[in-house]
């Protein structure tokens, strides 16, 4: 684990390496001491009613954050100044990489991505300490901080030893290949990974509070209320990060899709699924005090899945086009995952009696019943994604042969689950708590149902067909009607405040999800494509559009050679799909060019080989309906999450929902 190379026992290097390693060491010490101080605070507070060590917790949190910032700064400094004494810079840096991609190259590979994780986690830790600075002697908060510090210490250790980005490289290296070419041609590389990591890391906070609640035995609803916004923040960031990843894939990879069910994509989707189940079912616990074990299990599963996903994508056990390189960190991550699962299960078993909640759900046709069905579907979805992702490993272990489980499998199973979820989204928002009468359902669902029928009629009029797509459009209309009904009623009652708060913000999120579902169904079902062999100034027609090759643009630098085909569309604007060859990497990278409109996108790619000297180009044209609405839906999800984070005009979740039922004793008294 601690080799001379990783510890940097060498002298022929710049300042960044030793500084970075020192910062990581300080981070390990600060987070370890932070964990000890937090545990001591919790114990002291329980024993004596107050804890003097509590004041140490913020100091260690700030020290850990400073250490993480220093390590990241050192790495950026090494990359920007091209410090080729470091192995990481040798492998992922280059003198010819532009400044932006040189900056983002820091998280373009395994070691740097773990460092980014450390920074995000240290930041979360410091923010939580600041938020609870006056309550740090509360045993629940102190235990939560202890858990956060332990997780932080683990990631600092990973970054210090098996995934050390500050390891010393071979002597005499003066240039490197630069980051993966796909990470060098879109600005989203600056936003997608950090936002995704903030989402992953954000789930550490509710996880820490859940463990703290189990340890302290305060398994009532208090810890939930403390972590509600944190969970929503983490979920929102993860959602936004995933959508940005889809956008990036669409704009960069050249196959015109946003999601390929790749193991790395699945690794981000798994915690999203269980996290989404949690933010729904936790409402039942807040409102009725029920489903405690289930909600705890979902939270623990969400955090565990972030670690499992990290293991799957960073250990080299799975083949993925954008998995990180093979490394030693797999065994540490899988051990950490095992510890998390074992400790979580043991704590739940230990607190089993106190977790049992009184009360029952009166009817399946109620808001609670809908949330249970929602949770069943999300859990099933997560199971399917996990199974499909790890199944090649199972087959390899059992039969010593390799298979690939790909997009057709996930598509076949995710379609019915997605349609069932849309059906639930249509009905659940109008359901009252406890029990819904037939009369209420008929009255509340009437207009939303007509919205669904309207959407179906419009779909048929524009030529849609196929059961799955038509069901998606119908249920999308139905669910939009239900969400809009809720928003209209809320804004009528409360004015603009009817748009904020969890329920109303949640409806805006629903509208975003519906837009994404409809856009995905349309673009997957009705994409048309054609490969056109274009000759200079000779128009060709496809899908009602005229494409004319106007010429080529060549670019040659030390870093790359690129050829762009200039294609005029409908005698108007020209588009320039390109093929780039990165000198150091050797392979061809296609860059699509997209003409977007609210109805459909024209997606152009230049196909190899390019014969620019003969004035010919093979251009593949995809006509993809409604793609723009996917990004609008993503934006609506982000706005909806922000609206849900604002406190709405509602009672406190811990207030009584209905009058307390008098017991015999009370009557006697």
């Amino acid at each position: 684990m601690f080799s001379a190379e990783t510890l940097g026992v060498a002298v022929n290097q710049g300042l960044a390496g030793p500084l970075g390693r020192a910062a990581l060491l300080v981070g390990i010490i600060a987070s370890a001491f932070g964990a000890v101080a937090s545990i001591y605070t919790a114990r002291e507070s329980l024993r004596d009613g107050e804890a003097r060590t509590a004041r140490l917790i913020p100091r260690f949190a700030v020290l850990a954050l400073l250490a993480a910032i220093a390590a990241m700064t050192a790495m950026e400094y090494a990359m920007i100044t091209r410090d080729f004494s470091l192995k990481y810079v040798q492998e992922h840096g280059s003198r010819s990489t532009p400044a932006l991609y040189n900056f983002t190259a820091v998280w373009s590979a395994l070691e740097g991505s773990i460092l980014l994780w450390v920074l995000a986690l240290a930041l979360s830790c410091a923010v939580v300490v600041w938020r609870y600075r006056k309550k740090l002697s509360d045993p629940l908060i102190a235990w939560a901080m202890a858990v956060m510090f332990i997780v932080l210490a683990f990631f600092f250790l990973l970054s210090f030893a098996p995934a050390n980005p500050f390891g010393v490289g071979a002597a005499g290296v003066t240039d490197g290949p630069g980051p993966n070419p796909l990470l060098q041609n879109h600005i989203l590389v600056l936003f997608h990974p950090p936002i995704l990591y903030l989402g992953y890391v954000g789930f550490t906070i509710p996880f820490a509070f859940a463990i703290a609640a189990l340890v302290t035995g305060r398994v009532g609803e208090g810890w939930l209320i403390e972590t509600r916004r944190w969970t929503l923040c983490a979920w929102g960031l993860l959602s936004f990060g995933i959508i940005l990843g889809g956008w990036w894939s669409y704009e960069v990879l050249g196959w015109s899709g946003v999601w390929a069910w790749d193991p790395v994509e699945n690794a981000s989707f798994l915690p999203w699924l269980t996290g989404t189940a949690y933010i729904h079912s936790v409402l039942v616990q807040e409102r009725r005090g029920m489903l405690r074990v289930w909600n705890l299990s979902l939270l623990l599963a969400t955090f565990s899945l972030t670690i499992l996903g990290t293991f799957l994508t960073r250990s080299g056990v799975l083949n993925s086009v954008h998995a990180f390189s093979e490394s030693d960190i797999g065994k540490y991550l899988i051990i950490f995952f095992g510890v998390i699962v074992a400790v979580s299960l043991w704590l739940i078993a230990w607190r089993g009696d106190s977790l049992r909640s009184p009360g029952s759900i009166d009817s399946p046709v109620s808001r609670e019943g809908a949330f249970l069905a929602n949770n069943l579907l999300f859990a099933l979805f997560a199971f399917v994604v996990l199974l499909g992702t790890v199944f090649p490993l199972v087959i390899e272990a059992l039969q010593n042969r390799q298979i690939v489980v790909g997009e057709p499998f996930f598509d076949q199973l995710s379609k019915p689950i997605g349609i069932a979820l849309l059906a639930l989204m249509s009905i659940a928002p109008v359901l009252p708590w406890r029990k819904a009468s037939e009369e209420v359902l008929r009255q509340r669902l009437f207009w939303p149902a007509w919205c669904g029928i309207g959407a179906l009629v419009v779909s048929l009029l524009v030529g849609a067909d196929g059961l799955a797509a038509l069901l998606t459009f119908t249920l999308g209309g139905f669910a939009s009607g239900a969400a809009l009904r809720q928003l209209v009623l809320a804004t009528r009652r409360q004015g603009w405040r009817g748009l904020v708060g969890r329920a109303n913000g949640g409806m805006v999120v629903h509208l975003g999800v519906i837009l994404i579902a409809v856009a995905l169904a349309a673009s997957n079902s009705y994409t048309r494509s054609q490969e056109l062999s274009l000759k200079l100034n000779t128009p060709a027609e496809f899908g009602g559009h005229v494409f004319e090759l106007k010429g080529f643009e060549n670019e040659k630098t030390d870093r790359l050679t690129a050829v762009k085909a200039i294609v005029q569309v409908d005698a108007g604007k020209s588009y320039a799909p390109a093929i780039t060859k990165f000198v150091q990497m050797g392979n061809n990278i296609g860059t699509p060019s997209v003409k977007s409109s609210w109805r459909y996108d024209l997606y152009l790619t230049l196909e190899p080989p390019v014969k620019s000297e003969s004035g010919e180009a093979r251009i593949k044209v995809f006509i993809k309906p409604l793609v723009m609405w996917m990004w609008i839906g993503g934006g609506m999800m982000a706005v909806g999450t922000l609206l849900a984070l604002f406190p709405g005009r509602r009672r406190r979740p811990t207030d009584a929902v209905s009058a307390r039922v008098a017991t015999g004793k009370a009557l006697d008294a």
Binding site: G257, V321, D362, L380, V404, G406, L460, G466, S529, L667
Partner: protein
């Protein structure tokens, strides 16, 4: 509004939806274009050199070569999509992205169904337990408490009336 909401209206809406869905599902879109067939086939096969990417997604030379082979097969027009997939798989074993439905691989299809059925049964059992629990709560002692409370209330009302 009440008339609009009536049960017959809902039945009419349901029939209308089912009818429209059936019409949309059964109407013939016509055969796929050649490019459509190439895309559909290449979506079912993994590129042999690209870490799990499909032929459709990958821009690697190997994927490009197989795409060209598929295009040739489609242009020849003699084989069905499944036959073309089988031909490609013969050259690149294990390249089909859809797991088989027999042998150990069938587990990947069976387990989700088992999970769904298990989940539904679990939910059913939980609701049943909750229902029974409600009934059990209403024991003789509970009825006695309610009786006493009602009696107490009646007494108070009688006193007030007096």
């Amino acid at each position: 509004m009440k008339k609009l909401n009536s049960l017959p209206m809902w039945i009419l809406m349901l029939l209308l939806t089912v009818g429209l869905l059936a019409f949309g599902t059964l109407r013939n879109r016509g055969p796929l274009t050649q490019q459509g067939r190439i895309d559909a086939i290449s979506q079912q096969l993994a590129c042999p050199t690209c870490n799990g990417e499909s032929i459709y997604v990958s821009r690697a030379p190997a994927a490009e070569a197989i795409r060209n082979e598929i295009a040739r097969e489609v242009a020849a027009g003699q084989n069905s999509d499944n036959q073309i997939v089988a031909v490609i798989e013969k050259s690149f074993p294990g390249s089909v992205l859809l797991p088989r439905t027999d042998g150990v691989e069938s587990l990947v299809w069976i387990l989700p169904v088992v999970a769904l059925v298990g989940g539904l049964c679990g939910l059913g059992l939980v609701f049943r337990r909750w229902k029974n629990a409600e009934l059990q709560h209403a024991s003789d002692a509970d009825f006695a408490i309610v009786e006493a409370a009602l009696q107490h209330k009646n007494d108070v009302t009688d006193d007030e009336n007096v």
